[in-house]
């Protein structure tokens, strides 16, 4: 046996200490599966709308209370964009 073969033999013996075991393989798989069940599957428009609802509800309430008060940028009742939108509608 050459010394190169001896190094290969020692490396192979060393590798048995560190190669993934079946227990570790199963443990990592289980972790991934549990992470998957906790994560949202994809962007859900309904869910996003529900999440933003408190903000949109606040805007709606302000619009109803003071329809001509403006204060929300383009939605100013006297602005040209708003007027055009009303005309088209």
């Amino acid at each position: 046996m050459t010394e190169s073969d001896e190094l290969d033999r020692l490396l192979a013996a060393w590798a048995t200490r560190y190669r993934l075991t079946q227990v570790q393989v199963a443990s990592v798989r289980a972790h991934v599966a549990s992470s998957e069940s906790a994560a949202p599957a994809a962007l859900d428009a309904e869910w996003l709308w529900w999440l933003l609802r408190p903000v949109t509800a606040l805007v709606d309430r302000l619009e109803l209370a003071e329809p001509d008060a403006g204060g929300f940028g383009l939605r100013s009742g006297s602005g040209p964009q708003w007027t055009t939108y009303l005309q088209l509608a």
Binding site: E3, L7, A15, V32
Partner: protein, 179 residues
């Protein structure tokens, strides 16, 4: 607990490679498992995109995710665990040197020496060596996964083996690596 069959296939094909890579880059068996989990959680979330790639490209994608996770970890830690691991191994060798010179003890001592020498290798050499030794990948496959020419991988493997041979007193390997 059931897992998507596509994921099972991906996991079976790449888990040893990813493990060898993160172990090589971190020098920490426990941390390597944690990072392996993180890589496959990301793989799961991108399964639809990954599934359409050939295995070589899948491996390269997974390695790049692993590389980023390792870099993030090192950045957060600021210190390298590999050094600590190597020092621990050296201490163990010192203790066992007094055990006796029978064949089993000698073999154990050589493996401890090899272990310490591997953890002392630079990350770049160690990760290449572990992909070869733990996962049985060829230089071409390692090169594809790491984005390096196969010739560079062969050179790095030879460098790693030369350093290990020197530490183990296997001079023949050192001369062979120079050819």
């Amino acid at each position: 607990m059931s897992v998507d069959p596509d994921f099972e296939q991906l996991y079976a094909a790449h888990r040893q490679t990813l493990h060898a890579y993160v172990l090589g880059r971190t020098g920490d068996a426990e941390l390597a498992l944690d990072l392996l989990q993180d890589v496959f959680v990301r793989a799961w979330r991108n399964l639809a995109s990954l599934d359409s790639l050939p295995p070589g490209r899948q491996r390269a994608w997974l390695i790049s995710v692993a590389r980023n996770l390792v870099v993030d970890h090192h950045r957060a830690q600021g210190t390298r665990r590999a050094t600590g691991l190597a020092l621990a191994c050296e201490a163990a060798i010192g203790e066992r040197a007094a055990v006796g010179a029978d064949a089993e003890a000698l073999e154990h001592q050589r493996l401890e020496l090899l272990d310490a020498a591997i953890w002392r290798l630079p990350d770049e050499l160690r990760s290449v060596l572990l992909l070869s030794v733990l996962d049985g990948r060829t230089s071409t496959e390692i090169g594809e996964a790491l984005g390096r020419p196969a010739g560079t991988v062969r050179y790095q493997l030879a460098q790693a083996r030369r350093r290990l041979a020197l530490e183990l007193g296997l001079d023949d390997v050192e001369r062979g690596a120079e050819r």
